[in-house]
């Protein structure tokens, strides 16, 4: 039997986080969703099925075949890339059926005969057909439907991932004046990591996993659960509260709570970020702060596909797309969504939604300096970390630029004089 990890049409409900990546590259805990799914199908020949425009980049990154129509030659287990799989979750492969959780497919076991009957190269129509014709079995599983789900489950997954990695103890260089406040077996400090004097690592309420080549500067407090990815710097005096995932290669300062940062993003300075999801290559200017709780303690609504959706959660921060930058002193409203490659400057009460590639200046949405300038800025930012903007990545960004044009224009019109 083969396995195919796919993304369905609900990737759109996870934008802007999914504009530049498949759903299974979203992070929760210490790893992304794909890393949690792969152990479930260990030993099986595995393929990936994603949006066509992402395929050239993803094929370059992974050894698994991507969007290969001739992959479907035998019995197959289709696994939803939005599945937040836990170590205790197991696949039942004996019977042909669809295994669902609250209406979403978690995985589906498909026999070759069914493939021959329904497979015409279009995954979405194939999923619709098998949902009509195969028995559905309800199981306990978590599916990521909206961006805030990832933040909501982050603390729980951090603990699970820590236990799953089975690493503890100190391999790196830790100052004698660093304090481990809590159980020492809930801490792992990898080799080549350096923890300066006067750092407090609080493991009382959760584990702390500090990966290789991390630097933690003095007067910082880190509360578990927390995962600090490779080559990340935690700046002096940082207040890293519970439930954070960073990196690799982030620079994190100020106060951060229950947030997820993809690699190469910077929150170098003071300012509070809480219950937020920050994609790659984001730069948050000094004192950038997000609200994650409304003053009337009501549930937070968030823009999804240009409509407000009630999250049902009281604490929801910001969702920030790749390559977005904020100026000094930006104050982001509760449940703000910013697309990819936005530039947001401070001033007044900011709106809760910024379409991708928008520039927001003096209370107005603007087109900004254009795609060529934005790409050049991205190249410059990446070169500073010895990284290159791949042609495949540039193609994706240009594609999303075209796809989001009408939404951008709509918002520009809103604030025109």
């Amino acid at each position: 039997m083969k396995a195919l990890i796919y993304e369905d049409e609900k990737w759109m409900d996870l934008t802007p986080l999914t504009y530049l990546r498949p759903v299974f590259e979203l992070k929760c805990g210490a790893t992304n969703l794909l890393e949690k799914i792969l152990p479930k199908i260990h030993g099986m020949e595995t393929g990936l099925w994603i949006r066509d425009y992402l395929a050239p980049l993803i094929q370059k990154k992974y050894r698994q075949p991507v969007n290969k129509k001739d992959f479907w030659t035998e019995d197959i287990v289709l696994v939803n890339g939005r599945w937040l799989a836990k170590p205790a979750d197991n696949l039942t492969l004996e019977e042909e059926a669809i295994f669902t959780s609250e209406g979403d497919i978690v995985y589906a076991v498909i026999r070759k005969e069914t493939i021959n009957k329904f497979w015409d190269g279009d995954l979405y129509s194939f999923l619709a057909e098998i949902q009509k014709s195969l028995p559905a079995i309800s199981i306990q599983a978590k599916i990521i439907n909206y961006p805030w789900n990832l933040v909501h489950y982050n603390s729980e997954m951090l603990e699970i991932d820590f236990n799953n990695k089975s690493k503890k103890g100190i391999e790196g260089k830790v100052s004698s004046s660093t304090v481990v406040y809590g159980p020492e077996d809930r801490l792992y400090v990898a080799g080549e990591t350096e923890i300066h004097p006067f750092v407090v690592l609080d493991t009382n309420d959760g584990s702390i996993f500090i990966d290789r080549k991390v630097k933690i500067f003095p007067y910082t407090r880190i509360k578990g659960p927390c995962y600090i990815g490779e080559a990340t710097d935690i700046m002096p005096g940082a207040n890293i509260r519970e439930g954070n995932s960073f990196g690799p290669c982030c620079r994190i300062g100020g106060e951060v709570e229950e947030s997820i940062f993809h690699g190469y993003s910077n929150k170098y300075h003071d300012g509070f970020i809480g219950h937020a999801y920050v994609c790659e290559w984001v730069n948050l200017g000094a004192l950038t702060t997000n609200s994650d709780l409304k003053n009337d303690y009501s549930t937070v609504s968030v823009y999804v596909n240009d409509s407000l959706v009630d999250t049902g959660d009281l604490k929801v921060g910001s969702f920030i797309g790749d390559h977005t930058k904020t100026s000094i002193g930006v104050l982001l409203n509760t449940g703000t969504v910013t697309g990819i490659m936005c530039n947001i400057t401070a001033g007044g009460i900011l709106p809760k939604f910024f379409p991708s590639f928008i520039w927001f200046i003096n209370g107005k949405y603007m087109k900004g300096f254009g795609i060529e300038t934005m790409l050049e800025t991205a190249r410059r930012a990446m070169a500073r970390r010895n990284t290159e903007l791949l042609q495949e990545e540039e193609n994706i960004i240009r594609y999303i630029y075209e796809q989001t044009q009408s939404l951008r224009n709509k918002y520009i019109k809103k604030t025109q004089r």
């Binding site: 300096f369 254009g370 060529e372 520009i412």
Partner: protein, 82 residues
């Protein structure tokens, strides 16, 4: 639209965005050197012109315009094409 009308409205937008008196804005005025535009204000100027004339300009070309005179010529092309 006549070129004089475009010039009048361009100067009005420039005056509002850069906060300079209209009568100090000449055709040969340079946005940065003479009128004191910061780089970020060039974005506001483009947005202001688009709003004033109900046009959508190509950003890279629009942001390369350095003088009021060139802006008037550039905008006229879009207005004429409407």
């Amino acid at each position: 639209m006549e070129i004089q009308e475009i010039e009048k409205r361009v100067k009005k937008v420039v005056s509002q965005v850069l906060n300079v008196p209209e009568d100090t804005i000449k055709q040969g005025s340079r946005f940065v050197e003479d009128l004191g535009a910061e780089s970020i204000q060039s974005l506001e100027l483009v947005a202001g012109f688009e709003s004033e004339f109900d046009i959508s300009m190509e950003e890279d070309a629009a942001l390369n315009i350095k003088t009021v005179e060139k802006a008037i010529e550039f905008i006229k092309k879009y207005v004429d094409a409407k």
